[in-house]
C-alpha cells in the first residue's frame, strides 16, 4: 500500500470526488461547503461571501438543490457550495442526502455550519452530526442581533471549547462578523487552525463497545479514515448507501486517492 501521510493536506486529494459531484474545479484552491438548519440565513451568508444577490426569503426550504459561488481572499480562490438546509443528516430525505453526500464524499476543505443563535440547542443536533463526519468545520453563529433582541446570551468561548472548532458570531443581514468568518475559513482551509471536533460521548456502554470494535477494524483496513466512528455507527444502523460505498470502494477512494485523477 502506497501510504502517503501528506496527501491529507494536499488541496487536490479529493478532487476526483468533487468533480464527480459536479463541481468545476478549474482554478480553485479550496472548496467551502455551507451547511445548516433551514432558515438560519445560509443564503444571506452565501450572498455576503460571494457578492451574489440571490433573493433570500424568510421561509424554510428557500434554497432548493445546490447553489455555487466563488470568492478570493488574500492569494487563494475559494469555491463555495450552498447546501440545502436540513435538520439532521440521519434520516433520508433528498435534501439530507445531498448535504450528507457532499460533506462525506466531496470532503470540502472547510464546512461552514450556519446556526441560529436563538435556537442553538436544536441547531447543535446538526452541528454534532456534521462534526462526526468532518473535522474541518467552522460554526457561524448567525442571527446574533436577533438573539440579543430576545435576551439570549451565548458564551462563545465556552462553545468553542466544547465543540473544538472555531465559532464566529455573525449577523449576516448586517454583514457583522463576515470579515472574521472569511479570515477563519482561510485559516482552517490552509491547515493553520487545527480543529479537534467534539464527538458524541453519551452513548450507552454497549453501543460504545460496538462502535469501538467496528471502528478499530475499519481503521485497520482503511488507515486514515477520518470518520471511522461515524461509518461504524452507520453500519450498525444498516445504512444501505454507506454499505454500498464501502463495497464498491468509494469510501476507500476517499482515503487514499490511489486512482489517478484526470485534471
Amino acid at each position: 500500500m502506497s501510504s502517503q501521510p501528506n496527501c491529507e493536506n494536499c488541496p487536490v486529494h479529493h478532487k476526483g470526488n468533487l468533480v464527480r459531484l459536479g463541481i468545476d474545479m478549474d482554478k480553485v484552491d479550496y472548496v467551502v461547503a455551507l451547511a445548516g438548519n433551514p432558515n438560519t440565513g445560509k443564503s444571506t451568508v452565501f450572498n455576503n461571501l460571494t457578492g451574489l444577490r440571490q433573493h433570500t426569503g424568510n421561509w424554510p426550504g428557500k434554497t432548493v438543490g445546490r447553489a455555487e459561488g466563488a470568492f478570493s481572499y488574500e492569494d487563494d480562490s475559494y469555491k463555495i457550495v450552498d447546501l440545502p438546509g436540513t435538520y439532521s443528516l440521519l434520516s433520508t430525505s433528498t435534501d439530507e442526502e445531498v448535504a450528507r453526500n457532499f460533506i462525506l464524499f466531496g470532503r470540502p476543505d472547510v464546512t461552514v455550519i450556519v446556526a441560529d443563535a436563538t435556537r442553538l440547542e436544536r441547531n447543535l443536533n446538526l452541528v454534532l452530526q456534521i462534526l462526526e463526519i468532518t473535522d474541518r468545520a467552522i460554526l457561524c453563529l448567525n442571527l446574533m442581533d436577533e438573539a440579543k433582541r430576545n435576551h439570549v446570551e451565548i458564551d462563545v468561548r465556552e462553545l468553542t471549547r466544547e465543540l473544538g472548532i472555531p465559532v464566529i458570531p455573525t449577523s449576516a443581514r448586517r454583514r457583522d462578523g463576515m470579515d472574521e468568518l472569511v479570515a477563519m475559513i482561510a485559516e482552517v482551509a490552509s491547515g493553520k487552525y487545527i480543529c479537534k471536533p467534539h464527538r458524541v460521548r453519551n452513548h450507552t456502554p454497549q453501543l460504545k463497545h460496538a462502535i469501538d470494535t467496528l471502528s478499530k477494524k475499519l481503521r485497520e483496513t482503511y488507515p486514515g479514515l477520518p470518520n471511522a466512528e461515524w461509518v461504524a455507527l452507520r453500519l450498525l444502523e444498516g445504512d444501505q448507501s454507506i454499505i454500498e460505498a464501502l463495497q464498491n470502494g468509494i469510501l476507500d477512494g476517499l482515503v487514499e486517492n490511489e486512482t489517478p485523477i484526470a485534471i
Partner: protein, 476 residues
Amino acid sequence: MTEQNKSKNTEEILGIANNLKWELGMGIHDKIVSSLYADAAQIARKTVSIEGDKPAFSLDRKIDKIVTSRWSGFPIMFVLLAVVFWVTISGANYPSGLLASLLVDTLHPILKSGADSFMPWWLSGLLIDGAYLAMAWVISVMLPPMAIFFPLFTLLEDLGYLPRVAFNMDSLFRKAGAHGKQALTMSMGFGCNAAGVIAARVIDSPRERLIAIITNNFSLCNGRWPTQILIATIFIGGMVSPFWAGLVSTGAVVGVAVLGIAFSLIVSWVLSRSVLKGEASTFSLELPPYRPPRVLQTLYTSLIDRTLFVLWRAVVFAVPAGMVIWLVSNIHIGGVSLAEHFIDWSNPFAVVFGLNGVILLAYIIAIPANEIVIPTILMLTVLVTGMSGVGEGSGVMFELDSITSTENILRAGGWTLLTGINLMLFSLLHNPCSTTIYTIYKETKSAKWTLIATLLPIVLGFVVCFFTAQLWYLFA
C-alpha cells in the same frame, strides 16, 4: 494491502457489524439519536443563558396565536391579500397613465413620422405600430402594478408570513391528499407560475410534487392580475356607485383568487384519488421568527430580481406578438383581414361559452405571455366594430386615456357583464404560458404530464364558462 484483501476485509467488517447489530437489538437508531440530543442539550446548557424572566419570542408566539388561529387565521389571510391588491390597484393607475402618455401619446407619433419618412408603409407599420406599440403598452400597463405588487409580496415573505399561510392551509391540502408545502408553491405561483413549478422541488414525494406542479396554474400569476383588475374595475366595479367601486372590484379579484385556491384543492383531491393515488406524507414546518424586513434592500432585490426580470420577459414576448397582431389585421383575404376571418368563424362557438371570438383569438396570440391579452383584445375589438377616433388604425395596440374609454370600446363590441365575468374565469382557467409549459417539461421530464398540466386547466375553463353562460342565459 491488495484489492482482494481489502474486499475480504470489507466483507468481514460488514459481518461483524451485522453480528453487533443483533447484539444491540432493536431501536439502535433511536439510541443514537438520543445520545446525540443528550450531547446537544448538555452543550447548550453550558453555553446559553436567557436574561430576565420573559421567555424568548413571547411576542412572536402571541402573534402566531392570532394569525394561525382556527378562527382568525383565514380572515387575516384574505384581508392581507385584499390590502395588497387594493394598494396595487389604486396605486398603479396614475403612473400607468403617465407612462402611457409618454410612451404612446408623445413618443409614438414622433417615431412613426420619423419611420415613415424613409421606410415603406408596411415596414414602419410592422415595426412601429406593431412591435414598438406592443412593447410600450406592456411597459405602461405592467411596470407600475409589478413595481408595487412584488415589493409588497416580498415584504410579507421577508417578514415570515408565508410559512404561516402554509401552516393555515396545511390541513386543507392534506385532506385533498396533497403535500402541505404545496401552500408554499401556490404562494410562489401568485408571483409567477414558472417560479411556482420550480419551487415544487421542496416536495420530496414525486406523486405530491406532480400534483403541486399540475395545480400551480390555478394560482393567478402576475401576468393575469392586470386582466383581472381591469375587467373587475369595468364590469363589476361599474355596477355600484363610484364610492364603492374600488372596494367591490378588489373583492371580485380576491374572489377569483380564492376560487383559484379552491380549484387547486379540488383538482388535487381528484388527482390523488385517481391517477396519482397515495397518502399525504407528513412533514415538519418550522415557523421562523418574525423578522423586521430591511425595506430598502427588499425594494432593491424585488425590483431587480422580479420586476425587471418579469418585465423583460414580457417585452421579449410582446414584440413579436405585436408584429403578429399587426400582420393578422393587415393581411386581407377577400377584402377581410385574417383576424376578422377567425373572429367571425369562431364567434358562434365562443358565444356558447359566454365569450367571444375576439377573446379566443387574443388568447391564442397571447400563449407566449398572458400579460398582453388585454391590449390584444382591445385592438381586435376596435378592428371588428370599426370604431373610429380611437387608436391609430388597423392593428395598432394602443393605450386609452382612461378606463372609461376602455369600457366604451368593450361595450360597443357587444360585451356584457357575462363576458366580463367569463373572461375573468377564463383568465384563471386556461393553459399556462409557454414559459411555464417549458418549465413543467424541464421539471417533470415527461411529455405526458406536461400535456396533462397544459390541457387540464383549459378544459376546466371551457366547462366552467359553459355552465356560467348557460345559467346566465337561463335566468337573464
